[in-house]
Symmetry: D2
Subunit: 388 residues, 4 copies
């Protein structure tokens, strides 16, 4: 079985997310990195590609070179998949160009920096044979998949309430914006409408929709800028409605001093509830009205087949973030292989976020920013009705 | 040293909170129960008093009998302190009568069922020599006191964000209201304006104000009735402002299936943050921007003297809810003894919630109910400016 | 219902265990302290009794005064129960005298300082109407009772292995023995054959036998004196056999720097295992070969009736060490009342450690000290065959 | 920078450890798998290699083919490093042959199945230019490295006690030995002298020696066979001496029903103690005699540079077992590169277990098996004096 050939745009020397994409892509031996453009500086791009062990001829200096030269290679050598790991404002254009050239795309989130762009991308994809994946990483954790399975199986009864929280502390302090990452994330030109909600709030919203199988329809939002000279939010809370019956709350902060990447979600139904926390990712806690608490553990009996399929190790050998990320790549690789063989992919492989989730994310960010600026309490999520 | 003589109103056979007040009052050997009215049924009141080992002559059938007959006893035998543990709607009148008769009062929360009543009670107390305590129990935990101390000492820097959450599941399910406690808590006549916010939301608000030393000035509220036939809220979320600089969120639910009494608070400042959870009450976690996490443990070196004074056991022998509750009684007993000796009480003894906290609680409930019914986002906490 | 009248010997100003016995005895309103001898200094004993609110006439200066004067009081006023909370070497003589005078006895552990004394006490009790309880406190925790219940119900299958560990750090450091408690615990005259095993190892052994329902039959021991000038052990490990089929390990230390009172036990059977830890006392973890983990929580559905009967609060309001201790007193009070009414006590009340457990404790200490001094590996627990 | 070319022997279709070696080797893009023999069945070996994407010419059918044909390839294509992941009894011979052919070796543990073999291998290595690594995986965790650093820096003071425990449940139940892995691990011909101690006890012993920097000098052992028809131990406890001053205990079990891979270690010194647990691998707890507890977290301020160098992700994105394993490969790759450049490797790269740790492991297994069969308590670790 040949490895799928991947190129990368972005992810140079100090971009931690690029390294993670590379590790995630290669972990399972399904994908190999063959080319890339790693920096906006042509020289740095070339040099960095060389340190990654790429052939000199495939360490490109410009994005256009990558597309054109790869397209001209014989099919057996050519890049098949492009990973986009640049700052947000470039995602749309690069994805769009890659699709035009017939390359499959896996993009860091958010898909774009506006809802209009996301809708455009969706239309483009609908008219092409190209596959598209969006790295909402947290849906790759086996216990997140287990949570989704348990909700869908009706184990919690009718869902009533969802609480999702993502707390970070890295933007706490007046001088926190001196890092390269902080500077682009707080810059509306590069990051889009929102920093905190665009970076992590949207992950939390995706997680809530993924596990519950419900769409956020209305929001009431309070975005904050703890350090007032900043151009975008670094903290916020959003009250949620998922239709008429389910209420929720989404908390996100990048100024929660001392928090690492404290993502957690609780879903409450009539019959039971569940809780998952990234800091203890291999456990899923289930509580019931009339029975004692259960803790589902990766690799232990009683898991769903979807969770099993996304677990690599025997129970008690902890798997973490890279493994969750790699599940997205591995499942997407299976989609690509099935496409190449003109056959349907297995169920497991379908469980990768795509442009639909990208659109939902942009709707969420748009609505939240609009709601936060209003003195009215509730605001419909624009276009929520589009979501099937 | 003589024990302080206590009477009790409420707290009959099936009222769990009455038994807890008695355990808390007597734990430290400072207070003895000498009389009471334990039920609205005169006969049941008498009989229950007897099972508690009280003299027959002091097992009263009516509240008025209690007040009058105790008043007529010689001072050396007479009740000195009345504990009020009835449903909410009776708190005000009973406290008011007891004060008129010169008895010190310790009341279960909320102090009253309206802000007007609470203000009346405060005026009455201001013109009397009687002491008044309100059992916001959670302020009795040593690690909650430690948290307050750390914030006041500036250890977290400027406070930016407060998240407080109180999750219970006992009202989950359509049939949950069949218990005696559920029936009065969901009845506006007995419980007041709110069930969930009045019962547990107000505890969470008090905890946030106690630890942070800040007052909630504005709220945006979404109260819910998960089971629509109920007359009062059983769930809700409140966005908070503490003045212009500090944002917060208060989450409370009684339909969070499987949650026990999951009260937790996180306070974030520029320099550090803290987290406390009732389910692990003897630990206080401190996180910093630039150093590793510390866990303060009851009884271990490095605690404040206030926490030490409210701890009974060597480290690692867990103390819990009854001990926290007993700290309120013990400290209030010290206030009463000091008043009897016409001397100032020690600092520790002053750390008991009183009518000021009772007024804050009523303001909170009032504002939240009003805000929840409005389509506007933010609402000032009525009379918040009265708070010093 | 009248309270049972209790006297106390020991437990003066700086003796933390005396205060705990008083809190535990009085928590449930079943027992009242009426008299005592609180210090070996007659004057200090008198004065301390007064600060506890006792009548001057019942603040005794000598143990003999207590016995004789209480015996001469009318039955309605007389002490019924004596709590012994002195250093170890006095337990035997005081219990023996109290029994002769017809007083029920509740003694801090160990029952005596030699096996011979414990056997003598057992014979004396067998010929008297007096009841005797020994405060192996940890058996009072509801989740410990639940653990015992689950093992007896066969939920774990055939038991194969038991690991019990009690780690403290208070004797770490060369100067740790300067406290009053350290000085008598490290003195063979007052503490008996062993410090660490006599103080906490014996608790761990009792816990293992209580939960498993099995007796330790053989030991291989390594007792240590981390600080060589000490006359008794401050650390040790004991390999255990419970008959031919079950192996175990008991770890105990008082020089485990930074440990608080870290008592934990794991019991492994063919079908499942359980784990309980004092630092999280309201949870009991059950693991299975072929199913996901369950966590039994005090007050949540699915508990045994014995655990329910020993729980005071709704789930999630933590109960701790004092409540566990109070369960022993409350259950013993029920035994005493039943004896007074010449009727059998309820099952729940029978669940209090007594002289049989006292004898087992002395056998354990004896055997471990002997085994530790030997170069042979295994040693029979002396008299283990006496245990039914 | 070119990737190092790796071959593999063992690790076929159902051998989970082979897949882990491949993931660990490739995670950081330093090493690529180019050839291998994956099964004792020539045909299955060939086919499996093909599914891994290897060239047909390098999917070997026999180990000798691998050695000879790779040796004959031009240097730029030739395998440089051989990973040995077969059952234990083949490790020695294969490592020895590979060394003779000039290939670097990374071997799954144990190094050999006898101490004599391990000593032979060490002598062979001493006379060659080849590098050798042994995958004691747990030393790859950043917080294990942090623990070692803290002990060496004297932060705990003089070490007094070490407790290390490794609990698994996979061999619980009479039918547990039906799996392929169970059958060879319980077979003395393939596994060597011991199952439980040889498989996991030796990991625990290595962890204790690695963190403490001390050697086990004496053991007292009790190995068990919970299911009597088994030919080797499935459980055991070992009392330890590290010289005259430090005592310890090692607990290991494969019949601890419901345990996953519960590896934990506590090290106690005069001034402080530390605890690490695989189930929460990114935290290291430090406790002190006179200060509050600290929790060091991977990626948070206050770590040693060695821990930082072995961490890939920002704090709070959990890293796990594969990442720890990959640290061994990455560091060994750096050793190999340095050797190729005839320069000294960086400090970080030296932190990989090698033949010295292999010898220590064989000494441990040998001594424990001998001690367990003896009625004497203590036994010297054979050749312990050889360890520097």
């Amino acid at each position: 079985m040949k490895k799928i050939k991947m190129g990368m745009v972005g992810g140079g020397p100090n971009a931690f997310i690029g390294a993670i994409h590379r590790m995630a892509a290669q972990l399972d031996g399904q994908i190999e990195l063959v080319c890339g453009v790693f920096s906006s500086s042509p020289q740095r791009s070339y040099e960095y590609g060389r340190t990654l062990g790429l052939k000199a001829s495939r360490c490109y200096r410009h994005f256009n070179d990558l597309l054109e030269q790869e397209s001209s290679l014989p099919k057996s050598q050519r890049m098949e998949l492009l990973a986009i790991v640049t700052p947000n404002h470039l995602h749309f254009q690069m994805a769009s160009e890659a699709i035009k050239h017939g390359f499959h795309v896996i993009s860091d989130k958010p898909a774009t920096i506006s809802l209009a762009q996301a809708l455009t991308l969706a239309r483009q994809l609908a008219c092409s044979d190209v596959l598209y994946a969006l790295t909402y990483t947290y849906t790759g954790y086996p216990m997140v998949k287990e949570a989704r399975y348990r909700v869908h199986a009706g184990e919690l009864g009718t869902i009533r309430k969802i609480i999702v929280s993502y707390q970070q502390g890295w933007l706490s302090g007046k001088n926190a914006e001196s890092t390269k990452q902080a500077s682009w994330r707080l810059d509306p030109e590069q990051a889009g409408l929102s920093c905190c909600m665009g970076d992590i709030g949207v992950h939390a919203a995706n997680l809530a929709e993924y596990i519950s199988g419900q769409s956020i329809t209305h929001v009431c939002a309070d975005l904050n800028t703890a350090y007032e000279h900043r151009a975008l939010d670094d903290d916020g809370t959003v009250l949620l409605k998922f239709g008429d019956e389910i209420k929720g709350v989404l908390l996100a902060s990048q100024v929660a001093t001392g928090e690492e990447n404290n993502l957690s979600i609780s879903v409450y139904g009539d019959k039971g509830s569940l809780k998952w926390q990234q800091q203890n990712p291999n456990s899923l806690t289930l509580r019931y009205a009339d029975s004692s608490m259960r803790v589902i553990r990766s690799g232990v009996a009683n898991e769903s087949s979807l969770a099993v399929a996304n677990t690599r190790l025997p129970a008690g050998h902890p798997e973490g973030y890279i493994e969750a990320f790699a599940n997205l790549y591995r499942n997407f690789a299976a989609q690509i292989r099935a496409r190449q063989l003109v056959q349907p992919p297995c169920d497991k492989a379908l469980d990768v976020p795509g442009i639909k989730e990208g659109i939902r994310g942009m709707m969420f960010i748009d609505s939240v920013v609009r709601a936060s600026g209003s003195s009215q309490k509730w605001h419909a999520v624009q276009g929520a009705q589009l979501h099937d």
